[in-house]
């Protein structure tokens, strides 16, 4: 019997969507292995109802541990304790910053194999095989585990959320000891929103800007184009430019931002790193404008334009306006 322990990230009374996907995936895989999927939540006074709700996604049991939220190392301690006590064969994480950190720390603690950026997992001969795209997604490696515990860190949005109608899960408290080094980090402020609160998730047309816009003022070109499209259009941004303070965090696409799937995604000056791609690859039509013909974004765009966006965007804005007017 092979049980799977799934990490569930929660914040502000809700479970993270990628964690719901991971719990659903864990339940599916555990069934194939003839075991159960259990989930673990760590925080200060985690509501029992929130924990139990993971039963709807296939978790049979949910472990709740009391500890500081938003940091990886307390979870390494808690999950290592649960795995040592409970005989889990695999630990599973949805995409996201904390999942990467916890999974890697846990691998070191347990001497376990770890595979990250996993896009698919399959059960074969009573064990799990992880599939991981490599080299800018140009090939997929298949990896199995030789260790007692295998650690699987999914890529953002890799695992589909499925409600099983399983009802509430059994909730158990997990007591564990915080290791000395885990106690050396303290959260001062969490989840600070920087910049205006903009809504990009409902937009049909997104004009997204990256470092290629050159400077914060460069976003005017993207905003002008979005305005020309009118209707339900908005401007989005990459992490690099949000971190640089050029555009609000609320407009950010990708790994630690939003996941979107508009009718049109027009990427201006975006190279197309994996962390960005995972947040927008579900878009119906992807148009990319970039001066670097080798930019990865051209590998997954439907229309790629190699050229200077400072020349192209203003003319495109005028042409869209003219077309709209006609």
């Amino acid at each position: 019997m092979a049980n799977i322990l799934v990490y569930a990230l929660h914040y502000d009374g809700a479970i993270n969507k990628n964690s719901l996907g991971a719990v659903s995936e864990g339940a599916k895989l555990a069934a194939e292995l003839g075991g159960e999927a259990h989930a673990i939540l760590l925080g200060e006074n985690v509501p029992e109802g929130l924990a139990a709700s993971l039963g709807n996604y296939g978790a049979k049991k949910v472990l709740v541990a009391e500890g500081p939220e938003g940091l990886a190392q307390p979870l390494v301690d808690a999950m290592a304790k649960a795995i040592t006590d409970g005989g889990y064969s695999y630990a599973l994480f949805g995409g996201g910053l904390l999942g990467f950190e916890i999974g890697a720390g846990l691998a070191a603690r347990l001497g376990a194999g770890v595979v990250m950026e996993v896009t698919n997992v399959r059960a074969e001969g009573g064990e799990l095989i992880a599939e991981r795209p490599i080299l800018g997604d140009s090939a997929i490696s298949e990896i199995k585990y030789r260790s007692d515990v295998g650690i699987i860190i999914g890529r953002l949005n890799a695992f589909e959320i499925k409600e099983t109608g399983g009802g509430d899960a059994v909730v158990e408290q997990l007591s564990f000891e915080l290791s000395p080094h885990a106690a050396q980090a303290t959260m001062i402020t969490r989840g600070e929103q920087r910049g205006a609160d903009v809504d990009i998730e409902g937009a049909d047309i997104l004009i997204a800007g990256g470092r290629g816009l050159g400077k914060a003022e460069g976003f005017q070109l993207a905003e002008d184009l979005a305005k020309a499209f009118g209707g339900n259009s908005a401007v989005a941004a990459t992490r690099a430019v949000v971190d640089a303070g050029w555009y609000p965090y609320a407009a950010q696409i990708g790994q630690t931002g939003k996941t979107v799937a508009p009718k049109l995604y027009l990427a201006a000056g975006i190279s197309g790193a994996i962390q960005h791609k995972v947040g927008m690859q579900g878009s119906e039509n992807i148009v990319a404008i970039n001066k670097d013909a080798n930019a990865p974004i051209f590998e997954f765009s439907d229309l790629g334009v190699v050229g200077d966006l400072n020349k192209i965007l203003p003319k495109l804005t005028e042409a869209v306006k003219a077309k709209k007017g006609s």
Partner: protein, 263 residues
């Protein structure tokens, strides 16, 4: 304060990367360079030294890799490291991320740094996680993707973007911090620094020198075992327009959008 910066030699971005079909490992022949993300970690170390809030006695570049990785160390030294340490041994070749982290941690133990810095990811492996593995072995607190760091003699105040916005975390030293590429703009090395890099001290260590348990490293001992490679699902190649006449380019974009009823 002593700062160790973990660096890595990666295939030059301009060179096409490939997997050796017989082993599933990356073909690491061809042009190599210092992982571009690591230059941000070296720059962060230099800015701590120049910032003056703490006295930095030494910045040491540390790598694990084949003989050729010396060039990445020379580059790291030209960007500001005082000396470098090169762990090189056939026994560690082919290590997975967990085994690599263990080997690097053993190498760092000899140096006893107060702060270990590294880049957010390698340009080739894209694992994002080596810092967390190293920190666990060293028993140090750790954060990845840090984009702002204020340091005093006992702790760091770090900012980073996580799943729900920006987090500010206070971390006591010693610590392992992986920095995001937004943390700074790395400087260019001076010609003098490039010329002098080969003259700076470089320690070459074997696995035994670093007290590494050989049964825990190398491709055959790694817990994550590559079994096969396959091609990703085929996706129709997109249309490409090379912009020569912008008026015409824009007409073609508009026609493309119009066909799909996007305007």
């Amino acid at each position: 304060m002593k700062i160790c910066v973990l660096v890595k030699e990666v295939p030059d971005a301009a060179v096409e990367k490939r997997i050796d079909p017989s082993t599933g490992r990356m073909d690491r022949s061809g042009e190599k360079n210092l992982n571009p993300y690591d230059t941000h970690a070296i720059e962060a170390a230099m800015q701590i030294r120049e910032g003056g809030a703490v006295a930095v006695e030494e910045i040491v570049a540390v790598t694990m890799g084949p003989e050729s990785a010396v060039r990445a160390l020379h580059k790291a030294v030209s960007l500001g490291a005082d000396r470098s340490v090169h762990l090189t041994d056939p026994a560690v070749a082919g290590s997975d991320v967990a085994a690599t982290g263990y080997a690097l941690a053993k190498t760092l133990e000899r140096e006893k740094p107060e702060l270990v810095l590294l880049g957010q990811q390698s340009d080739d492996g894209e694992c994002y996680t080596i810092g967390a593995v190293v920190a666990e072995h060293l028993g140090m607190p750790s954060l990845t993707q840090v984009i702002k760091m204020d340091v005093d003699s006992e702790s760091l105040r770090c900012e980073r973007q996580a799943e729900y916005g920006y987090d500010t975390v206070q971390v006591k030293l010693p610590a392992v911090i992986s920095v995001g590429d937004a943390i700074n703009e790395p400087r260019y090395p001076s010609l003098k620094a490039i010329m002098g890099a080969k003259k700076k001290p470089l320690d070459t260590l074997s696995a035994a020198d670093a007290d590494i348990d050989a049964s825990k490293v190398g491709g055959d001992n790694s817990a994550a075992q590559w079994i096969a490679a396959k091609a990703p699902p085929a996706k129709a190649a997109g249309e490409i327009i090379e912009d020569e006449d912008t008026g015409e380019t824009v007409e073609r974009i508009v026609a493309w959008l119009d066909e799909r009823k996007l305007i």
